[in-house]
């Protein structure tokens, strides 16, 4: 026999040693947290090892042909290796522990603040877990819900793939909180997204004379859905008269923006907020 053949036999023997005595029988369907029994053809017993994703267990002097495994030892789903060692030989079996039924959800909702009437602006991702926090990889239907402060709730169902279901939602037309939820079986999770007014829309300005001074003020500034824009939103007033062109920025306070503008002769005044423009005023200064 050549040296090469001897070495090959040695390496194969080292690697496959546990496989030679594979006489452990494990049920085909094992579920996380459920008791089950491993059957061994070796009635003399030995030392039993159970190696799982989050534990290693060792029992000395196991006897008899049945080894009872309590559910507590297989809370984590995944691949397990059982070994029964006796007199220098080990019998082994590798088996899969399935996750239990869906019982918990992790819900990721983004963003926490969104403008009204934005298409597909809110995303919700639900991760489906069993009661031991194993990701449930079997198909499951996740029910997503959007519950506005006023108005009717909307719900849609999505199939979870590899334990994950997700949805995109368009924000509502009215500002205020909207609850975004997901449920599967007994598990339910809710998150709150604040919907805020969008850009100003239909800006309108009007002239005002007070104590001989000229003011320009806006009507209440609202977005296209009629929600008042938040105080602090900047409104730009641009005046063109014979002295030239002047722009004044004013923040919205209590729903309107107002500025004083000295007028020399006749003037043209424009209003804008961001890329939105409003009406135009043509005024003549008082002499």
């Amino acid at each position: 026999m050549s040296i090469r053949a001897l070495l090959t036999i040695f390496v194969v023997a080292m690697i496959s040693r546990p496989l030679l005595a594979a006489d452990l029988q494990v049920p085909a369907n094992v579920v996380a947290g459920d008791d089950f029994t491993i059957t061994s053809s070796n009635r003399e017993g030995g030392t039993f090892y159970l190696i799982g994703p989050s534990q290693v267990g060792k029992r000395n002097a196991v006897s008899g042909s049945e080894i009872n495994i309590p559910g507590d030892e297989i809370k984590n789903s995944g691949l397990y290796t059982a070994l029964l060692c006796s007199g220098g030989d080990c019998a082994s079996a590798t088996f899969y522990v399935k996750p239990a039924a869906p019982a918990k959800l992790s819900l990721l909702v983004h963003p926490s603040r969104v403008r009204v009437a934005e298409p597909n602006a809110i995303t919700a991702v639900a991760l489906v877990f069993d009661r031991f926090h194993n990701l449930v990889t079997e198909p499951a239907q996740v029910e997503f819900q959007a519950i506005p402060g006023e108005g009717q709730a909307i719900s849609q169902s999505r199939a979870a793939s590899n334990g994950i279901a997700w949805i995109r939602l368009t924000s509502g037309k009215k500002e205020g909180p909207v609850k975004v939820g997901a449920s599967v079986g007994p598990a339910k999770e809710l998150r709150v997204v604040r919907q805020v007014a969008s850009d100003a829309c239909n800006l309108r300005i009007k002239p005002e004379w007070s104590s001989g001074k000229f003011y320009v003020s806006t009507d209440p500034v609202r977005d296209c859905s009629g929600n008042p824009v938040p105080d602090g939103t900047v409104i730009s007033f641009t005046k063109t008269d014979r002295t030239g062109k002047t722009t004044v920025d004013a923040p919205v306070k209590r729903g309107i923006a107002r500025v004083q503008m000295p007028i020399d002769g006749s003037a043209r005044i424009l209003v804008a907020s961001g890329v939105v423009t409003g009406n135009e005023l043509n005024v003549t200064g008082k002499q």
């Binding site: 546990p18 290693v56 990889t137 590899n162």
Partner: protein, 171 residues
Amino acid sequence: MKLLILFLVLGLIAFYVGYLHADQPASHVEINTDSIGPRAIEELTEKSIVRDYGLAWQTLRNALENNQGSALDGYSTGFAKDEFSRLLQSQLKTGVHVRYIDQSHQLTAIFYSPSGDAMQLRDRATLELQIVDGSKVLSAQQVTRNYLVLMTPGADRWLIRDLESLPEGRP
């Protein structure tokens, strides 16, 4: 002739033992992002995932080898970290060790959340799995294992949040 064979066998054993105890570098990691969705993966994220997943396995391997729970802090979080910590505690309690000598990981990215805060991947890992009681190797098997991995971004890296081994044949 007998002496030569004896030397060869001893040399092989010495090499084998040395190989087991060497501090292994990060293993080879490849990623396929063709079927990712709904968000497209960014080039930098792809590089980070490959780097951080390899380093996560390296730290897991070292933590299990040396029973060092603190080593897990770097690249795992959430349920994954809890599971690995429990594994370490039971190793200490029983004196039984699990040794992963991972050689390669073929990652397939399958889900990247629209907001970029979670990524799910499949890993087809080639590794040697050893079960050691004290200093006695009870089992040493060369295996190919499928994992379902959930990763989430941390401050400067991606962390393993969940790692589940799957049976062979799962799509």
